[in-house]
Point group: C2
Chain length 354, copies 2
């Protein structure tokens, strides 16, 4: 592998615009084809890839399109990467993430990575230049987990996390997958406040509860959908009050939160179920804040719901990126009693995780 | 009309839960049927209705369902209101708003309304108890504008604005329709900051530009899609810089904003076009804020877009309700040179407004 700096060409862009081949001028994610040349610019990083973790929707589409034939699925993924210079399923538009080892870091890369570090990317494969060297020969084509040999390029504004030595990789990846939620919760929750976490026994919810505790919340109310999850949550010290309620029932949820010591100064929505906007708004005091982390959130339901309730609440779109989010989340997992056990239970329930 | 207080029953709820007949326990907006009894509770207000302004989608559906027959459309609207106790189109789920005169205000109503005041409701007809007294006889059935006689009930947490004497009603209604945008902009923009308004020649955009000015923005960059809108905006003093750019092209938009003095501390998205999330994020500095007022905003595009760009931006769901929003917006219209002319041009372009 060459270690020569990339030859002069278009100036290196922190967003990777100089790697976009077709069509010119769009962001890497929107591009049809990227340049995966292993020679890096001064602010880039090259990673030796050992595993791709395909987005579940992408793998499902490929599985259906090729009737589950593993050889055809393997060939299709190889062809996508070869022709596009990235792993972005043309049908679903989705990618996934990768793990690997830092091979070379340009002298002006701001990512702080050193050769030899084992990392996971926290930006999507849909915008990451990628080349495969082993024809995916070690992949059986039967799951989203793709062991492979290849290389990938990180830009100045890419995001990657160093995988810690003291935690199993599947556990670290599960934490990193949702690490934006605790970071933003940590930033928004003020000391002495009441925090309501909807979906508090889930991955992003339990981390957000731990982050609210670290931020100095006076009371943390955990909302869960079932008695089973309530029992899980009660085994931990993550929530001061555990409430079983249907988050899609605004009046029922608000009443239950009120009875448990609400309304909330900050409500964090961490359940991937549609229709939770009204309940979250109604469970929050006037002047409070709702953070929506669920991808099932409807923008218009949130906007019109608050208006219909004359609710003066600040509503935040949960941004998956907050500086330092990976370290914060891994630290919470290490330092919060009960959190790791909850996570491991979630991972074993889901199965199939790397 | 009786002026007796409502007889004892379930305690009066600021959200109007006591007016929900079917199904019990849901919010008025989700209810099939409301109680439009004209006797008001101590925190309610009764309005003598003179006009309904049906939601455009609702009228369009009725027009199609009855092949444009005005008598059938009139009968259908009358039947909906009689059976549901509110005007909520069962197919579209949407309502509209109303104008009328305050008839009676309960002694504990927090809305500050007095009998005789001409008002417009700023909450939807979908959650407003309503009865019609004249069988809609004065309505020709041919447009969303429904002159009528009837009464409506406002709850403690309803929102209504007193229509000012010094402005034409259509102009006031056009301002009130978008008054959440300038109020939230006014709250978020800090003195000395750079504000970028996407769609600055539109109704919510021009008001937001005026609000950013009032908040003390050092530089206001107005983004418009065409040279025509640029000329309109340049006739005003609303923006310091006018940029013609396609808001759906992230790189193009960010470059144009940068050239005009960006990136933004605060970007306000006021165009009802899908696909503006990435551009708004990319035009905003790290640590800045994006306010999404467009109902075309995709929650997941915003959340995943920021993550893909490693953008540490605060993203706000534009809440249509901020206390004092109506007065603020009407005040901006009166006090900002050029704003009224821009609005009147918009209203005449749209046609058909009340």
């Amino acid at each position: 592998m060459t270690t020569a700096a990339r030859p002069p060409g278009p100036p290196s862009s922190p967003l990777g615009l100089h790697r976009v081949i077709e069509p010119r001028g769009v962001l890497p994610q929107a591009a049809w084809r990227l340049d995966a040349d292993p020679a890096i610019g001064p602010d880039e990083v090259r990673v030796r890839v050992d595993r791709l973790n395909l987005d579940a929707a992408s793998y499902r589409q490929l599985h259906q399109a090729y009737a589950g034939d593993p050889d055809k699925i393997r060939a299709a993924v190889g062809e996508i990467i070869a022709s596009r210079g990235k792993m972005q399923n043309p049908v679903t538009g989705s990618g996934g993430m990768l793990t690997g080892t830092v091979e070379e870091a340009g002298p002006r890369s701001p990512l702080g990575l050193r050769p030899g570090q084992r990392i996971a990317t926290l930006v999507s494969l849909t915008l990451t230049p990628l080349a495969i060297h082993d024809s995916l020969a070690r992949w059986d084509g039967r799951s989203e987990q793709v062991p492979c040999q290849g290389h990938a390029i990180l830009f100045a504004r890419s995001i990657a996390a160093v995988l810690p030595d003291d935690l199993p990789v599947p556990l670290s990846l599960a934490v990193l997958d949702v690490c934006g939620a605790p970071a933003l919760t940590r930033r928004v929750v003020q000391p002495g406040s009441v925090a309501v976490i909807i979906g508090a026994a889930g991955k992003s919810g339990s981390l957000s509860a731990a982050a609210a505790r670290q931020a100095g919340a006076a009371k943390i109310i955990g909302v869960v959908p079932t008695g089973t999850e309530a029992a899980w949550l009660q085994e931990t010290a993550l929530a001061d009050e555990v409430v079983v309620a249907d988050a899609r029932d605004p009046v029922g949820l608000a009443d239950a939160v009120e009875a448990a010591g609400g309304p909330a100064d900050v409500t964090v929505v961490c359940v991937d179920v549609p229709g939770c906007e009204g309940g979250a708004i109604l469970a929050t005091r006037q002047g409070g804040t709702v953070i929506f982390f669920s991808m099932a959130t409807s923008f218009s339901s949130a906007a019109l719901g608050a208006e219909g309730l004359a609710a003066d609440v600040t509503m935040l779109v949960g941004n998956g990126y907050v500086p330092g989010h990976a370290e914060l989340a891994l630290g919470l997992l290490r330092d919060t009693p009960g959190l790791r056990a909850l996570f491991e239970r979630r991972i074993s329930h889901e199965g199939g995780q790397p």
